[in-house]
Amino acid sequence: MDTTLSTPTTGPRLSHTEITNMASTYSHEWRAVCDKFNNAQDLSELESRKDPENDPFRSKYKARELLREIYCSLKNFDVGENESVNDEADQRPTEQPVDGGMEEGFGRGHCGDSPAGSRAAKLGAVEYYLGVNHVETEELSAGEEHLMNCMTLLEKCSISPENVSLFIQVRNQLGILWAGRDEIEKAQGFLETAEAMYIRYMKEDGQPPMDLTEFFVAEEKALPQQERTKRFEMAYTHTLYYLAQVYKNLEQYEKAGGYCHSTLQRQLEFNQFIPLEWAINAATLSQYYITKTLYMEGRHCLSAASVIAGLAGEVPSEAAAQESEAEAEKRDQLRQKRAEIARCWIKYCLNLLQDAKKLLEDNIGELDMDRQAELRATRLKEEEEKERGRKSAVLFGSSDTFDSICGLEEKVSCVFPVDFEEARAIFLVGQTYVNQAKEYFEMDGHVTDHIEILQDHSALFKALAFFEEDLERRCKMHKRRVDMMEPICKDLNAQYYLLVCRQLQFELAETYYEMMDLKLAVANKQDDLDAHTVKKFNHLCSSSTKFYQMFLDSVRSPEGKWPEKLEDEVLRPALVAKFRVARLHSRLISSSKTVQMENLNRALECYNFVVQYCKDNPEAKSAIETELELSEEMVSLLPLKINRIQANLASSN
């Protein structure tokens, strides 16, 4: 079987006969056809936008008529002239309406750029436009028929620069059509064929192919090579774009991700993008990579996003924004999108730190030296692999932007940090982006967004604290978290921001708890539990209790009643809060026996509550198994302790 592609020169070659014929008989009719085609395009693309709401397809119907006329004219042109050639081809059995695939395009039938091939392509083009016309006017079956006719016509030809674009684009359209009918696999078939054809054509020929619109233009109006390349590449970018959607629908997410990435890369390469839109897409893709812990790819996407967002222009000044609505709009858009990208960066840094922590922590959440050594060793090994991977990765950028993108990438690591120095470097980058994001997402007007950013900032500190060896400094980091969140928590209207308030209260309670533990650990190390430290400790303890209590109060009804049954989303947090309050009460330090007893009694009350609630609502047990177990133990043990203290008190009186 002949597997070579034909290799013509620049455009469709015409035979001597044809040229002569066109010069004399056809030139007038041909011009008419070309004009008609132009009109049809105008109607379809431009006029249709002005169609009224109650007759929205008016222009497209008109375009359709013109296309039909063109089809008839074309059929009539070569009647008699090439009849014999046609008969040969027509003797092939009628094809099934299934994509015969690429092999059909290679070998049998006419050479792509022969007169018969040319004719077939022209007819095919008209069928294509008719098909698209019907699809756009919601007549899918008719659309399908025309598109299939187009395919059938092309099957008779070998692939050439004249028809390869049509080959690909008709399959793009059929892909869309079948996907619309929920036949994703069928769509996949057409699109994958188009993809394969592109790859093969570029490998075996590679000449800038003719664009679809050029079938009906005079030769002198042919598009320059650069424009042809651009349009052809755009058609293939669409193929990849549709495949990304198909794979997503088939739940082949990794593949879909790759195709999204390729689509983005091609948009950049061929300068077919709107900067802000592209940047946001790339930033979102980075978030997907983060979920897969592919930090190198994630960093690349984010760096590109930042650089390309920068290409969107200067932010209009506040003064300019006051003057003009358009400028105000532009200012807001630019600032917002850039702030959103900053937030994606924050998540990058945060997740990198948190994922490293997961790898390095032991079973009580402290940094494990052995694991640290292990991770260090693995990293050395992986670095070589990564360099190799890097070279084959799909990289973003054009010659101007490559450097800027690399520059940004160099500012932050993409490997798991193993010690404090490395963690701190990542933390600082995250913090910079926090400040950037907060500039746009100010509190009043963007309450939820602003607080989310603060929560991320707090999480950054928390993650960094894990790496800090010095306990005092660690405590200071938690203090930063408290200083950030406490004022907001107090200031926020709990009625309107209920969920956010609860999150903040819980986090503050946990942070104070952490600080309390650290204070004690520091004192114990120095063997120095003086009155001052005790006071500090108790204060932290009470603060933690206060916030857990606030959270618990938020669960009550407006009249202050505790609900009979806790809702699903507050069940575990509420019971955990009770459990922790119990613990906190019992940890308060006091020299007075009376006070000690009081505290332990309060603790007992809380442990009891947990136990009782689970007795009354057995389905809650699974939500706090461990805590319940411990509560039950404490409920049986605490009374003994309390009695002992009571006895002590009595005897000393």
Partner: protein, 268 residues
């Protein structure tokens, strides 16, 4: 939500006006009321004040914001006071008229126009002087009134027929790659913003989503439901299980208590 043009079958909005004043009437002896309202139109992700007509409306920038205290303000839009259902209704009709004008000037591409009405009630208790605020938000998510394109469904491919059309759905694909993306930079359309910060998390918030039973409105129905879902911010409060350190410490204490070992007071 609006009802028919001639108001022979009034929708929820005009009925709500009557209902509000009926209730105020009931409590007229106990409370002093002040009712104010703003009426906005949202299309092409831009808010427009419907109390102002045509060109002037287009030039003013309106934002709905809620501050940390919970106070909602329609920045840049007029808020009018009303002392009866009739007055409210007259304002409503004026707003609709302005809406219609805006609609005919619209670009054919932007056929989605939403109506947002905020009725704020300030009531002062005549007995003890305390003041409270209430707000009723009525948002009419309009479907496309065109008989034409139904638009692409979620499992249809978002097409880009004209070779120059932007691949606008690429963002949808990317954000669907994983259900737990750390941050999704797009979904802050004005509508989501309005819903998010205007509704808050209190249990008395009720969102009623009206959808059409017709299958040719499937797209709009899906959009409405998706917006409604996004408004519900479900996030974890207690994110992880209890810190293991704490649990193991407590287990130690329990062990000591059980074995009768002396336990330091501050260890319990």
């Amino acid at each position: 939500m609006v009802g028919d043009r001639d108001q022979r079958s009034p929708g929820i909005m005009p009925r709500a006006f009557n209902a509000v004043f009926d209730i105020l009437q009931e409590y007229a002896t106990k409370f002093d009321f002040k009712v104010s309202v703003y009426m906005l139109e949202l299309y092409n992700d831009r808010l427009q004040d419907l109390f102002v007509s045509g060109a002037e409306a287009q030039s003013r920038r309106v934002e709905i914001k809620r501050n940390r205290k919970g106070l909602v303000f329609a920045q840049g839009a007029e808020t009018k006071e009303a002392s009866s259902a009739g007055e409210l209704f007259a304002m409503f009709q004026q707003a609709c008229a302005n809406r219609h004008n805006a609609a005919t000037k619209m670009n054919v591409e932007s056929s989605r126009s939403h109506l947002i009405i905020g009725i704020m009630v300030e009531s002062r208790n005549l007995t003890n002087g305390s003041v409270s605020f209430g707000k009723l938000s009525l948002v009419d998510l309009a479907g496309s009134e065109r008989a034409a394109k139904t638009g692409a469904k979620d499992d249809q491919l978002k097409e880009a027929n004209s070779i120059n059309k932007s691949l606008s759905a690429l963002g949808d694909v990317i954000s669907a790659l994983s259900s737990d993306l750390p941050h999704i930079p797009y979904r802050n359309s004005k509508l989501t913003q309005i819903m998010q910060d205007s509704l808050g998390g209190n249990a008395k918030t009720l969102m009623v989503v009206n959808v059409s039973p017709s299958d040719c409105n499937l797209d709009e129905t899906l959009t409405s439901l998706i917006y409604a879902t996004r408004v519900k911010t479900i996030t974890n409060i207690a994110q992880r299980n209890l810190e293991s350190k704490e649990i193991s410490q407590l287990k130690e204490v329990i062990m000591k208590l059980k074995s009768g070992q002396p336990v330091e007071d501050e260890e319990v």
